[in-house]
């Protein structure tokens, strides 16, 4: 089931190639022709994080000729638990530079193309058009919909992988015969309803499992061999170590790949995902909740003002760092309202201000008249008040 049109003149393999890829060459399903297809292939890895690391590593090792990398982030210590292409010495360095160095060390013949941008509606088509296959290793909904739509519009397969906690999903979208990401999920969840990996955590090995599945699918698409994950969603459950498969169907009413598409060019994906740009006025009061800065809270605590500080993070986060708030994990708040005095001022905090904002809104709806959210949470406290408070 070949989805990639092989170039008319495939590059020859040189003596180095013959030695390096000998284990591929003796596989009838790869062979000389397959290896030449890999050498001719141009693959774009969107993201060089958890999924992008194993994906790019294995694609480089397998002999992909050109590997494009899209990332604008720098390596952080908290990445290293899963983003294995980066090392401790790379902390603070651009992920693109760190990744490119490892990939060319592994395979000097690889042509690495660095795209140091945040993929957007303005640049996506221009970047994707030069590649045969796009592998989506992004970490957010707006970029996932952007990558999907751009792949459909350009007719490029979108090798998809996604992870959360102990579970992963993988599929191949946007081929001519198969469904796209929007056929599966027409709309993203509203902001705030689904926790991110930064909130919910992720098993470090999981993106390894899923990223390698994505790399496998990329290779199969290039070779035109095997059964790709088109029209199938593979679910990976690492905790129980179960792999399941669900059937996916092309949605004839899909707004981008359906019979009468309404999306014929890239749109504003931030807006599509319900993310509105903030205006300056909103920064002090958000959804009716005053936003208090860490400096203001510190000043008021030091002055002995009566403030109930409520910490809505999880107990394991509290063990890492705390700033003296009373711990009531967000999901326990509805059952533990009696512990929060409605007659006193309440300041809610979390790691960086998102969960606490939602809980502050919840408290306000439940009759608490003086509720504020600590803007920036523990992270801001560590940056601006006390660096001994451990960031995570």
């Amino acid at each position: 089931m070949a989805t990639i049109t092989p170039p008319t003149a495939l590059p020859e393999l040189n003596t180095d190639d013959l030695a390096r890829y000998s284990r591929h060459l003796i596989l009838p399903e790869v062979g000389m022709e397959g290896q030449r297809k890999l050498k001719a292939a141009k693959v774009l890895c969107v993201g060089t994080g958890g999924l992008g690391s194993p994906m790019a590593f294995y694609l480089a090792a397998a002999g992909i000729g050109t590997l494009g990398l899209v990332d604008f982030d720098v390596v952080d210590a908290s990445n290293l638990q899963r983003q294995i292409i980066h090392s401790t010495k790379d902390i603070g360095r651009k992920k693109l530079d760190s990744a490119a160095e490892k990939l060319t060390a592994l395979n000097p013949a690889l042509n690495v193309v660095k795209h140091e941008v945040m993929l957007s509606s303005a640049n996506a088509l221009d970047i994707l058009k030069d590649y045969d296959i796009v592998a989506d290793g992004t970490d957010n909904f707006p970029t996932r919909y952007l990558v999907n739509d751009a792949c459909v519009l350009l007719g490029k397969p979108n090798v998809y992988g996604s992870i959360f906690r102990f579970e992963g999903q993988a599929s191949v979208f946007a081929t001519k015969e198969g469904p796209c990401y929007r056929c599966l999920y027409p709309e993203p969840p509203p902001p705030g309803l689904v926790p991110s990996c930064a909130e919910g955590g992720v098993l470090g090995i999981l993106p390894g499992l899923v990223g390698v599945i994505q790399a496998t699918e990329v290779i199969k698409l290039i070779l035109g061999n095997g059964q790709p994950l088109i029209g199938r969603l593979l679910l990976v459950d690492a905790l129980n170590m179960r792999f399941r498969e669900l059937k996916l169907r092309k949605n004839p009413e899909c707004p981008v790949c359906g019979e009468h598409p309404s999306v014929t060019q890239l749109i504003d994906y931030q807006q599509f995902c319900g993310i509105m740009p903030e205006t300056p006025q909103e920064s002090n009061v958000k959804n009716g909740i005053p936003q208090i800065t860490v400096k203001e809270l510190k000043r008021r605590l030091d002055a002995g003002e009566d403030v109930q500080l409520i910490d809505v993070r999880e107990p394991y986060e509290y063990q890492i760092a705390q700033i003296g708030g009373k711990l009531i994990p967000q999901n326990d708040v509805p059952q533990r309202l009696a512990e929060i005095d409605a007659n006193r001022e309440v300041v809610v905090h979390c790691r960086s201000g998102a969960r606490s904002q939602r809980i502050a809104e919840f408290l306000k709806q439940n009759g608490y008249s003086q509720v504020a959210n600590l803007a920036g949470g523990i992270l801001a406290w560590s940056d601006e008040i006390d660096p001994r408070v451990q960031k995570y």
Binding site: G47, G49, G50, L51, T138, D139, N140, F141, P142, R144, S162, I163, F164, E167, Q169, L184, Y185, P186, E187, P188, P189, P191, G192, L193, V194, P195, S196, C197, A198, E199, V202, P207, L233, L235, R244, E245, L246, K247, L248, R249, C273, I275, E278, N331, C350, R351, S352, G353, A354, R355, Q357, L379
Partner: protein, 81 residues
């Protein structure tokens, strides 16, 4: 978990009755399944079954709730958790 039910929707109701906090994640205010949540009866999407959520289920069937996941960092940069 195991739920006693004759149809897909009965199974869902049984689940949200025993776990009311799931309700807002699974359905809209009008009780419609959210667009970013897919329901599968064994390996087939419930929306592709002819009887949809009225489809009969037996004790050997598995009903899966498959939400969309993005992974990685917070996807709302202005509101980080």
């Amino acid at each position: 978990m195991d739920v006693n039910a004759a149809t897909v929707s009965e199974a869902l109701n049984g689940l949200t009755e025993s776990h009311p906090e799931l309700r807002r994640h699974l359905s809209t205010g009008e009780g419609k399944l959210r667009a970013f949540v897919n329901l599968y009866l064994n390996d087939e999407g419930v929306r592709h079954l002819s009887a949809k959520e009225a489809t009969a289920v037996s004790s050997s069937d598995t009903l899966s709730i498959v939400p969309s996941i993005a992974g990685g960092l917070d996807w709302k940069p202005s509101l980080r958790g």
